[in-house]
């Protein structure tokens, strides 16, 4: 009984934390980027206002669509919610460890993406279809890199559980920063930018038809489904951000349930998020969005980085099995 109670508590906590913080994090990224470019930017609570607005508006659906079109926002929301259980934030509830392999996370993201792309084809709009075809093209390039980079960390720590990664990484102390780790972290950073749909790959701030990918797929949505889609996209961004933060700086996770440890871990987590967010904002301000057909070169290069990382991690743990 206590275990069931613990599971329910952890589910609510992980789920709630991710979905409650994600609009704030998204707006904060927008705001910092604006500040860095000498604009004022939106107020920090803008994400919540937007969500409220979407949930109040009427839903208009094309009569050409099937049930899939309206089911997709919910499926997406649930997939991202399930991923939120597997990603360490400032606590890593070990109750989900038995289900939380790397493959589960990557393929839950893949499932969400599949339904999003399929639903975007439903209303038959030109921009929607273009968005989904681009999304699938980028997805085929993202997935191997993401898997290989995460496998490198798994090899380095001998664990496949994302929730166990930070503590296993931080137990290595300064020995953590080996070439294998550095290469995999670099590959993971590049691929995270692509997965979050940020600047060199997609621009989250524009509705310009020729460049948009994610926005393109949402073009036919309105009202509550649109709100859900945005919310799950932001939450996905928050989750990837916190995974990245916890892998780049795996220290100071809460290991015990006492208040002081939790508070320290929370502070450290906020610091990590701010650090990673600032890196992303600076990168976004420094580089221009890339031509779509150059994306494959960058992601190909990061694939090779991930392969190199894997080679180095194998070397580090004593070579290939003979």
């Amino acid at each position: 009984m206590t275990q069931v109670y613990e599971i329910v508590q952890s589910v609510l906590f992980q789920f709630g934390l991710a979905f409650a913080l994600s609009p704030l994090v998204n707006t904060a990224l927008k705001k910092w980027k604006a500040l860095l470019q000498g604009r004022q930017g939106p107020p920090y609570l803008q994400g919540y206002y937007d969500l409220l607005k979407y949930f109040r508006k009427e839903t208009v659906v094309s009569d050409q669509t099937s049930a899939l079109f309206l089911a997709t926002p919910v499926i997406n929301f649930v997939c991202i919610g399930a991923v939120s259980l597997l990603i360490p934030t400032f606590v890593a509830p070990q109750v989900f460890a038995p289900i939380g392999g790397i493959l589960v996370m990557v393929y839950l993201l893949g499932l969400a993406r599949f339904f999003m792309a399929a639903a975007a084809l439903e209303p038959g709009g030109g921009f929607c279809s273009m968005g989904s075809s681009r999304e699938m093209m980028i997805a085929t390039l993202i997935e191997p890199v993401l898997l290989l980079a995460l496998f490198t960390f798994a090899k380095l720590t001998n664990t496949q559980q994302l929730l166990a990664l930070p503590s296993a990484l931080s137990s290595q102390g300064l020995f953590l920063y080996t070439p294998a780790y550095a290469l995999a972290a670099l590959a993971l950073f590049v691929v995270s930018l692509a997965e979050m749909g940020r600047v060199p790959f997609d621009n989250p701030e524009t509705h310009y038809e020729l460049t948009m990918i994610h926005e393109g797929m949402l073009l036919e949505y309105s009202g509550k489904p649109l709100g859900l889609m945005f919310w799950s996209a932001w939450t996905k961004q928050f989750l990837i951000l916190s995974l990245l933060a916890n892998i780049l700086f795996p220290f100071h996770m809460a290991t015990s349930a006492n208040i002081a440890a939790l508070a320290l871990a929370l502070l450290a987590f906020i610091g990590k998020l701010i650090a990673v967010g600032l890196i992303i904002v600076i990168v976004e301000t420094a580089i221009a969005k890339m031509r779509l057909f150059r994306v494959k070169e960058v992601l190909g290069a990061s694939l090779i980085l991930a392969v190199l990382a894997l080679i180095f991690s194998v070397e580090q743990s004593g070579g290939l099995p003979k």
Partner: protein, 224 residues
């Protein structure tokens, strides 16, 4: 609380980092779109190798290796790139890279070759030290990738760059064995000289070509 690196464990770690740097430069070299970037990545790769030799020389207190490292750094990171850039500027040609195989594909092939090199060294020399294996596999990978560049790129200039990468690979291979057979170092330097002559050969030939063109221009101007 957390273990800190000790001085003895620093050399392998440093070697790992430099090797990673060299391999990244090689991959970027394969992926570069312009000749200028290619030359820069070549220089960065050579710098990594020279630092590697210097670090090993320091660790083993070997003066010969240190001197060779300095010579290699000056030759490969400064003189050869300067000459290459000079040639690039003097010879009228398209500054882009032309290739029989698409650039991302070449990068993937390069990654595959690095994997193959590691696999081979791990299976051929499984009794050797980590350092030896690391450098041997890197050298092998560089030789493979240099040959790949020589095969798939269209222009003579890029092929010479590929030859330089092969030379860097041989440099790395000699480094793995530098403390046993110093003769190979001398051979490496000789090979370097050979390459220098090659570059000069192309240079002279191209200047000859352009010189004719230049004089023709002048003649036309005189007539007009």
């Amino acid at each position: 609380m957390s273990p800190t690196p000790s001085p003895e464990s620093m050399l392998p770690l440093l070697v790992d980092y430099i090797v990673a740097w060299v391999l990244i430069c090689t991959i970027l070299f394969l992926g570069a779109q312009r000749l200028k970037a290619k030359i820069q990545f070549y220089a960065m790769q050579s710098l990594g190798l020279s630092v590697l030799l210097g670090a090993i020389g320091l660790a083993h207190q070997n003066t010969k290796a240190l001197i060779l490292a300095v010579v290699a750094a000056i030759g490969k990171c400064i003189i050869i790139p300067l000459i290459l850039r000079y040639v690039k500027r003097r010879v009228p040609m398209n500054k882009g890279v032309e290739s029989y195989v698409a650039i991302p594909t070449t990068m993937l092939m390069g990654g595959g070759m690095i994997m193959a090199a590691h696999y081979l060294t791990n299976h051929l020399f499984y009794n050797q030290s980590h350092l030896f294996n690391e450098m041997l596999s890197t050298g092998m990978a560089l030789v493979f990738i240099g040959m790949l560049v020589m095969m798939v790129r269209k222009k003579a200039f890029t092929q010479i760059l590929g030859l330089y990468v092969v030379d860097n690979g041989i440099f790395c291979l000699t480094m793995a064995t530098v403390f046993e057979m110093p003769m190979i170092i001398e051979m490496g330097i000789l090979f370097e000289l050979l390459l220098g002559v090659l570059v000069m050969g192309i240079l002279v030939q191209r200047i000859h070509d352009s010189f004719q063109a230049v004089t023709l221009d002048e003649l036309e101007q005189l007539k007009g």
